[in-house]
């Protein structure tokens, strides 16, 4: 077991949260029950990693197995690092009928053609998600397991989620994906976040949307609070309307946790008092960035509590409808225009 592998393991142990370390190791299943029992998880990380190293030596485990451990860890808590969404464009006819095995070998072969050496691991997770781990190497160096790229793809859906991908590797990956998933093109979906589940749910529309219906809406019923006959809300129905509007724009119930939304304005500066700026030819460009632990929740609250005006401006509502959190706003196309952005920025 060379010391690059050792370093890998140490780093990995340091990264796995202490409380889940035990279960992760169990999932990994490379340790005998005795070895499992012999580990004392109350010890500090460095001690644990020492211990684990010894065991791995003993079992003669290699980098391959360590990467397995890493993969289980990443699958269990995917909310580390930035995830970027990509969208596959114009599918072939048989795009819908592709199934896992053939996708697997297709992808591997395609990527191997493009770059070698490269180490690829593909694993099917329970919820129809295909997890791909790629450790890149190039003609001079062996695959670098210290900074692998992770790709998550749901077959039959046009979406791919990628983390820690350099701009150099991007075209390679894109091509392999396009070919093996039977599409013709791939584009950046302009959606990124720390929580994989969040951006996935957002694109897969796995959150509770609200539509105007002729039947009594659950919203109204939920806000029926039994109150004293002597207390009367003057602006009850405006409030209800605001809530309805907000929920139509941002969905109901718990929302996917986005952290940021970025608007890149490349519009003309309009302010009659400020001549010099207004008369400039080149567009006045600035970046507006909203940040929060759960951005959509906060936006919804803003709208429902009347801090933000309703109906919600398309600039905000299109975060969910277009499923993106990066917009470039130009003068000609009113509202958010579609432009792509380098993932690594």
């Amino acid at each position: 077991m060379d010391d690059s592998t050792k370093r890998l393991l140490q780093r990995l142990i340091r990264r796995i949260p202490a409380q889940t370390l035990r279960t992760t190791l169990e999932k990994w299943g490379r340790l005998t029950a005795a070895q499992q029992r012999s580990m004392d998880f109350t010890q500090p990380k460095w001690a644990l990693s020492e211990k684990l190293l010894a065991i791995c030596e003993e079992n003669g485990l290699t980098a391959k197995h360590i990467t397995e451990l890493e993969m289980t860890n990443v699958i269990d808590n995917p909310n580390q690092g930035m995830w970027y969404a990509f969208q596959l464009m114009d599918p072939e006819d048989d795009a819908n009928s592709i199934e896992l095995t053939q996708f697997k070998e297709q992808f591997k072969s395609h990527l191997r053609e493009l770059v070698r050496p490269v180490s690829i691991k593909i694993k099917k997770h329970t919820d129809e998600a295909v997890w791909i781990r790629i450790a890149w190497g190039d003609s001079f160096s062996r695959p670098n397991h210290l900074k692998p790229t992770y790709v998550v793809h749901h077959l039959q859906t046009p979406y791919v989620f990628v983390t820690s991908l350099t701009s150099k590797q991007k075209p390679l990956l894109s091509q392999a994906l396009v070919l093996s998933a039977r599409y013709q093109a791939i584009k950046d979906a302009n959606l990124s976040g720390r929580k994989l589940t969040a951006i996935r749910d957002l694109l897969m529309r796995k959150y509770q949307q609200v539509f105007p219906t002729m039947y009594p809406s659950p919203l109204g019923e939920r806000n029926q609070v039994v109150s004293n006959p002597h207390i009367e809300k003057e602006q009850a129905e405006p409030a209800a309307n605001r809530l309805q509007m907000a929920c139509e724009a941002f969905g109901d119930g718990t929302l996917p946790q986005l952290q940021t939304v970025v608007y890149k304005l490349e519009t003309k500066f309009r302010d009659h008092t400020n001549k010099t700026m207004t008369e400039r030819e080149e567009p006045f460009s600035c970046v507006v960035k909203f940040a929060s632990t759960n951005l959509l929740e906060s936006l919804r609250h803003c709208a429902s509590s009347g801090i933000a005006s309703t109906p919600v401006t398309p600039l905000l509502s299109s975060i969910l409808q277009k499923g993106r959190n990066y917009f470039v706003i130009t003068d000609n196309g009113s509202g958010p225009s579609t432009q792509t952005r380098q993932p690594q920025t």
Binding site: I231, E232, E234, Q235
Partner: protein, 184 residues
């Protein structure tokens, strides 16, 4: 938009009506719940986010004896919305039937300018300005008691005292600066 008028409606027997205006709609609820517990007379509470009030429940609305603007000092917005709402009150109300209730005055994140601005506003309108501790239950009950004290007078339950009389006693002349009272 219709101005809210103090004397457009007849009062009803042994009832006082109070209107709580707060842009955040937080404190007003707890206040209302404690206000209606008053047993000596019936208290009707109307809650509003801002003025003007909607036309549709114009006739269902009783005569409002006291209008309370609740301002949370930690938010500029709450102050501004109160300022805007004030314009929709009939001048008659400013004869003692309006008061300000300020929360979070002791919070570290409150800029002194804002507090002074509120003070100036209250002083310029000759309205009393009450401070309240909305965090603690005791604070809420106490705030309620004080509102009731004013409301009683405003609704005419106290013999030989009118709202104007009381507000003359309780209003601030000018915002003071206590920072450095120099004695010489």
């Amino acid at each position: 938009m219709a101005l809210l008028k103090p004397f457009s409606k007849l009062p009803c027997l042994n009832t006082a009506n109070i209107l709580l205006v707060e842009s955040e709609e937080q404190f007003q609820q707890s206040l209302a719940d404690t206000l209606v517990e008053e047993t000596a007379f019936t208290v009707n509470v109307r809650l509003a986010k801002s003025l003007p009030l909607p036309m549709e429940n114009e006739e269902s609305r009783p005569r409002i004896d006291l209008v309370v603007f609740i301002i949370n000092l930690t938010s500029e917005l709450s102050f501004q919305s109160a300022e805007v709402s004030l314009k929709n009150l009939d001048p008659g109300y400013f004869l003692g039937k309006v008061c300000f209730m300020v929360t979070n005055a002791r919070n570290a994140s409150v800029p002194t300018e804002r507090l002074d601005a509120v003070r100036k506003l209250a002083a310029s309108l000759h309205c009393p300005m009450l401070f309240a501790e909305d965090q603690t239950p005791d604070g809420v009950t106490n705030a309620t008691e004080r509102l009731l004290t004013i409301l009683k007078v405003a609704a005419g339950f106290v013999p030989m005292a009118t709202a104007l009389y009381l507000s003359n006693l309780t209003r601030r002349t000018a915002p003071p600066d206590i920072e450095q009272p120099s004695f010489d």
